[in-house]
């Protein structure tokens, strides 16, 4: 028998990385390849009244332009199926794509984009999610009456409950409240978003992608292109970092549409500036906690109000809001939990997945609560965590059963490595039993 699992060994494909021979998508240069660049909205919210691309199209070196009218399938993509590839009318965030210019090189694209005549009737945007929830706030999604995501028709709050928090607070000796705000963060992989597309000899569309999740994206792309899945050869596998940012389509739709229309290889890549400003981000969460605890340190109730800013479109945000709520009480057994979670639209870039997705928002805030509780109880912060850490068989907020618990084991090891002497009664604890 062999036992390779558990052995430290270098990366199977690592020689490519240290010799610079690993092929990333931007390394693909094909004969006769065209380039695309996008026209983006200069305003945060508004209605396109006039778009004239004729001067851009006449620029020497320009092969043509793309707008919403050039989308053979449906002009929507995104995890929530609500983002236009090219926005034809109602702009929801600054930097939204409106059209693309395709030319022999990127400089020509930029030159042509300067000649576009675009008139937008600017409207008042809303950026703050609490402002967005007020009556009379600017409406982010045209055709709706409010800015809250509906989990089911008419249901704007996702409730997750375990036990009875009111009873839990009645039993508590101490109640600690806290309100926390997390950051809007960019993925910033060193490899920017890029795509290369062309038609193969059988007239099938080939796309070289930086996607982290090919099948997720393929199902979105077939809708945009109006092609059966078998007519797309979606090729990827090795990328220059993703961190969740490449769970969103940034370039494949534009490159693919251009290749289909102009029947030549097309490369579309975002600049670092476009990525930092206009690509999806980790959305801001505001977390309001009310936590009840007994004098001996046992947590007995946790009431969490969660607000998640999804930006201008749905992205993965509703899912993220739910996932955050499921785990926002940390790795602790709390018999009474109530989560009330809302996902709110604003005129900002779309919130998408990012490393630690949704979980970091709950962990990074609940742990501040734990610090405050330890301080208020006059208890060692390690002891508070040891008392409450999950043991096998404990139950989490949405009634999942914890198996293979390991918080205590991780803490013991960390204390040892950090030179923290833990008392014997803590060292004797195990995740296998309470």
């Amino acid at each position: 028998m062999t036992q390779y699992v558990g052995q430290a060994m270098p990366r199977y494909d690592g020689i490519g990385q240290v010799t610079g021979t690993t092929k990333y998508v931007d390394d693909i240069v094909l004969p006769g390849m065209l380039y695309a660049k996008c026209l983006r909205s200069p305003v945060h919210k508004g209605i396109i009244r006039h778009l004239d691309l004729s001067a851009a199209e006449r620029t020497p070196g320009v092969v043509g332009v793309l707008t919403a009218q050039d989308v053979p399938g449906q002009n929507i993509y995104g995890a929530s199926g609500d983002q236009p590839v090219f926005n034809p009318d109602h702009i929801r965030y600054k930097g939204e794509r409106i059209a693309a210019v395709v030319a022999v090189d990127e400089d020509t694209c930029m030159e042509a984009l300067e000649k576009v005549k675009l008139e937008i009737e600017e409207q008042e945007p809303v950026f703050d999610m609490f402002e967005a929830m007020k009556p009379g706030a600017p409406i982010v999604r045209p055709g709706t009456t409010h800015n809250l995501h509906e989990y089911m028709p008419g249901m704007t709050t996702r409730v997750i409950k375990l036990g009875d928090v009111e009873q839990g607070f009645a039993e508590a000796d101490l109640i600690i409240e806290g309100r926390y705000q997390t950051t809007q963060q960019d993925h910033a992989p060193i490899e920017p978003h890029v795509s290369v597309a062309y038609l193969d000899p059988a007239n099938r569309l080939v796309i070289h992608t930086v996607s982290q999740c090919l099948y997720f994206h393929l199902s979105q792309l077939v809708r945009v292109f109006g092609l059966p899945m078998s007519q797309i050869r979606y090729i990827g596998g090795t990328i220059g970092g993703g961190f969740g940012g490449k769970n969103d389509i940034h370039a494949d739709h534009v490159a693919g549409l251009a290749a289909l229309k102009f029947r030549k290889p097309v490369k579309y890549r975002e600049t670092r500036r476009e990525d930092l400003r206009y690509s999806g981000k980790r959305g801001v969460f505001v977390m309001e906690y009310k936590t009840g605890v007994k004098k001996d340190g046992r947590l007995v109730a946790n009431h969490i109000k969660e607000y998640h800013d999804t930006g201008a479109y749905g992205g993965f945000s509703a899912y993220a809001t739910e996932k955050c709520g499921m785990f926002a009480s940390g790795p602790y057994w709390i018999p009474n939990i109530l989560v009330e979670a809302k996902t709110i639209y604003t005129n900002k870039v779309v919130s998408i997945s990012m490393r630690g997705f949704a979980i970091i928002n709950g962990q990074s805030t609940m742990e501040i609560q734990m610090g405050k509780i330890a301080e208020a109880l006059g208890m060692d912060p390690w002891e508070l965590r040891f008392i409450n850490a999950w043991r096998d068989g404990d139950m989490g907020a949405s009634r999942y059963i914890v198996r293979g618990a390991g918080a205590l084991e991780a803490m013991k090891k960390a204390a040892e490595l950090a030179g923290v002497q833990l008392p014997a009664h803590l060292m004797a604890m195990s995740s296998r039993r309470r």
């Binding site: 270098p10 990366r11 690592g14 020689i15 490519g16 990385q17 240290v18 010799t19 610079g20 021979t21 690993t22 092929k23 990333y24 931007d26 390394d27 240069v29 400089d107 993925h187 910033a188 992989p189 060193i190 490899e191 920017p192 990328i239 220059g240 970092g241 993703g242 961190f243 600049t271 670092r272």
Partner: protein, 156 residues
């Protein structure tokens, strides 16, 4: 724009290529010569993934106008291997896992090469300072420092 002939030594061999005056060294390497080791991470001189050695000194090829390297010597990550053998730094990076996605690695290796050429036995702090202009979003800094130290210590 009018094209001019640029002649320089690339990884030990003389090359001549037609370029326009606005092209950067990175443009010429990647798009014209298909030397794709140096990466375009920001095109702004801030990530370091495009770093090459110009007459032995690390430069951001995205900030270097191509015509300024006329007659000079450029080394990219492709030029690190000698007679099919990995450079000691490449071996150390590979065996010690001093990269994850590998996109910043070509730049990291060139800066590290320059560091060891100037200072064969750098301290941990000297490594941190010298490498500080190169970003790694995967966060492999600690492993990179160790790989450089291991090479300096003669382990490779």
């Amino acid at each position: 724009m009018k094209q001019q002939v640029l002649t320089f030594i690339l990884n030990g061999e003389e090359v001549a290529v037609l370029v326009t005056p606005t092209e950067t060294l990175l443009d010429v390497l990647r798009e014209r010569l298909q030397i794709t080791g140096p990466k375009r991470g920001c095109d702004d001189g801030e990530c370091g993934a495009c770093t090459v050695l110009l007459d032995g000194e690390p430069v951001r090829s995205c900030l270097t106008l191509a015509l300024t390297v006329e007659g000079r010597t450029v080394t990219t990550v492709e030029g690190l291997m000698v007679k099919g053998e990995l450079d000691r730094l490449q071996k150390a990076f590979y065996e010690r896992g001093a990269f994850q996605c590998g996109f910043c690695t070509p730049g990291m290796l060139m800066v590290a090469k320059s560091l060891l050429a100037k200072n064969p036995n750098p301290s941990r702090d000297e490594i941190r300072s010298y490498m500080a202009g190169n970003l790694c979003r995967c966060g492999s800094y600690e492993e990179i420092i160790e790989a450089i130290q291991a090479v300096a210590a003669g382990e490779y």
